[in-house]
């Protein structure tokens, strides 16, 4: 069986598909926890792009930047889930359509 050689574009198309999955999750689902998970999927797609370009340019900076993206994703998850818990305590629901107040 014959394979075409794997180019950076293969990785970019995979990352684009993963990013689109995240976008679909954010637009379709109503559970806020699933929305956060979709955002993590998108961040991982970005990281995959960084690492693919790091390999393409034979330079390690892409991996360093992916590390920063992981740090920001950790911060985002912590703060986002904290907000989510506060919201759940106020409204007893996780439906994103019910997030329509600025004060508790």
């Amino acid at each position: 069986m014959h394979f075409v050689p794997i180019t950076p574009y293969h990785y970019l198309v995979l990352a684009a598909a993963l990013f689109t999955l995240g976008v679909i999750g954010v637009m379709v689902r109503r559970n806020i926890i699933i929305l956060f998970m979709s955002i993590e999927l998108m961040l991982n797609a970005v990281n995959l792009n960084f690492v693919a370009f790091s390999r393409l340019h034979q330079h390690v900076v892409g991996q360093v930047f992916a590390l920063f993206v992981i740090a920001v994703a950790a911060a985002e998850a912590a703060v986002g889930l904290g907000i989510l818990l506060a919201f759940y305590r106020n409204k007893e629901t996780l439906n994103v359509d019910d997030v329509n107040l600025l004060r508790g």
Binding site: Q63, I70, N95
Partner: protein
Amino acid sequence: MMEAFAFYALAALIVGFGVMVIAARNPVHSVVFLVLNFLGIAVMYVVLGAEFLAVIQVLVYAGGIVVLYLFVVMLVTLKRAPEAHQDPHRKTGLGVGLAAAVLAEVIAILVYTSSAAPVLTTAVSAAALKTPALTGNTEQVGWALYTDYLIPFEVASMLLLAAMIGAILFARRAD
């Protein structure tokens, strides 16, 4: 040949588990599929020659962030599932269609602008860095992180501290 096989197998796993994440009814199942998705991406990093990032992916994402999600999923006990209540103004089909259009556009840009696709070579060479000869991937990442990117590194630590304090303030029971 070997890389092509690994790529296609991993890509199928990653996209399949990604679909399962957003399609699963039960949030706990979503979290488990998210772990499997992250592990697939970690193996993909190994294929791409970024071993240090693969370990960080497993430790921080699959081990840390996803456990945080699991805690929150277990902490909230819903009387009524969020998906049970239908909003007539939501246009789900339109959202999926627009996302598919974006994906088709990105792939079309990639296909039509790539006349000669560059071929990937094996490993990230140390010659790209103005450093002493560094052999391992971890050494190269560490060197870049603690020399050229020292200030962003410290700023990231401040960001994590601020996020930790913010998360504690938000999740604290108001009394």
